[in-house]
Symmetry: C2
Subunit: 183 residues, 2 copies
């Protein structure tokens, strides 16, 4: 019998509404379970702050350490690469991809826009957003990455490819490929 | 005589105009040099693509590997945490902080808004940006982090603190502190 893989579920989903978080976490874990694997959601390890203060920096460090521990214990990371408050991957997720790459985990990414290039994503974003935003982009950071087949920043795509993972259009495709190739 | 530290200069500055990139890279390196250290900018290692195609995915992997090598060879990373196309740190920079943390580098961050919390940054951003953007935020990701003293996502701030670094309002303060404490 094959050994279940431990999969860290990275993504900005922790910033959804409480109801949506529960729904997302349980549906991602269900997909993992259907292939015989175990999904771990960032909030799984969440403790109460000892002093009852949910806004202290110390409590943020407790969450940080809990997430790092989940990644350390995981065999693979599957990251939600969808646009987060701009044409970029959530910075917390990007951090976790960097950490996981250094720790030699297999990394997968999924995004509903997986087939597009970063430049295309960016153009789409510019079209969907007001003039103010367009101006702020053009003032400070005029250069937009444009590599064939790259759905996100080259460091993220380079790490996913270099780790032996892939980018797909859906979470389930990631689990399926991971299951076929690594378990 | 003290040994010069090798400092990797992470940040979204690579997305500025060509002229601005040169200016930024040379001014950051000058500050490092004034303390006896060596700054390394992401584009320093940049090669020409063998096939002349600057947009191929293969060339993006070449840049990826060159940046990873620069971080591997560095003693410390100093990261520009300024808002990048939204109320977040550039995802490439966040990736590099994650990688550097796993590789046990000392990590510093700087941001003109270093004294603010992430929640305050977010509010400022909301005020500065059009109604479209505000709506898109409220629809998918209503939760905004709010920890005392955290200028960015808790994974980034946790890693900087955990690595022995700090967040300052300017690049030079980072170099000064790094120089005093680690050289």
């Amino acid at each position: 019998m094959k050994k279940p893989l431990h999969i860290y579920l990275a993504g900005p989903d922790v910033f959804r509404s409480e109801e949506k978080i529960k729904e997302t976490s349980s549906s991602l874990k269900q997909v993992c379970a259907s292939y015989g694997h175990l999904g771990h959601f960032p909030l799984d390890n969440l403790l109460q702050p000892a002093d009852g203060n949910f806004q202290s920096q110390e409590f943020s460090f407790t969450i940080f350490r809990a997430n790092i521990q989940l990644i350390d214990e995981a065999d693979a990371v599957i990251a939600n690469l969808e646009n987060f408050r701009g044409p970029n991957v959530d910075d917390g997720t990007a951090f976790e991809i960097g950490y996981a790459f250094a720790k030699k985990k297999v990394i997968y990414g999924y995004s509903p826009t997986a087939g597009l290039s970063y430049k295309q994503l960016h153009d789409r974003f510019l079209q969907g957003i007001g003039e103010d935003y367009r101006n702020s982009l053009q003032k400070d950071f005029p250069v937009v990455e444009d590599f064939e087949g790259n759905t996100a920043n080259l460091m993220l795509i380079g790490a996913i490819a270099g780790s032996g993972g892939k980018v797909f259009g859906s979470f389930e495709e990631c689990v399926k490929d991971l299951n076929e190739r690594y378990s």
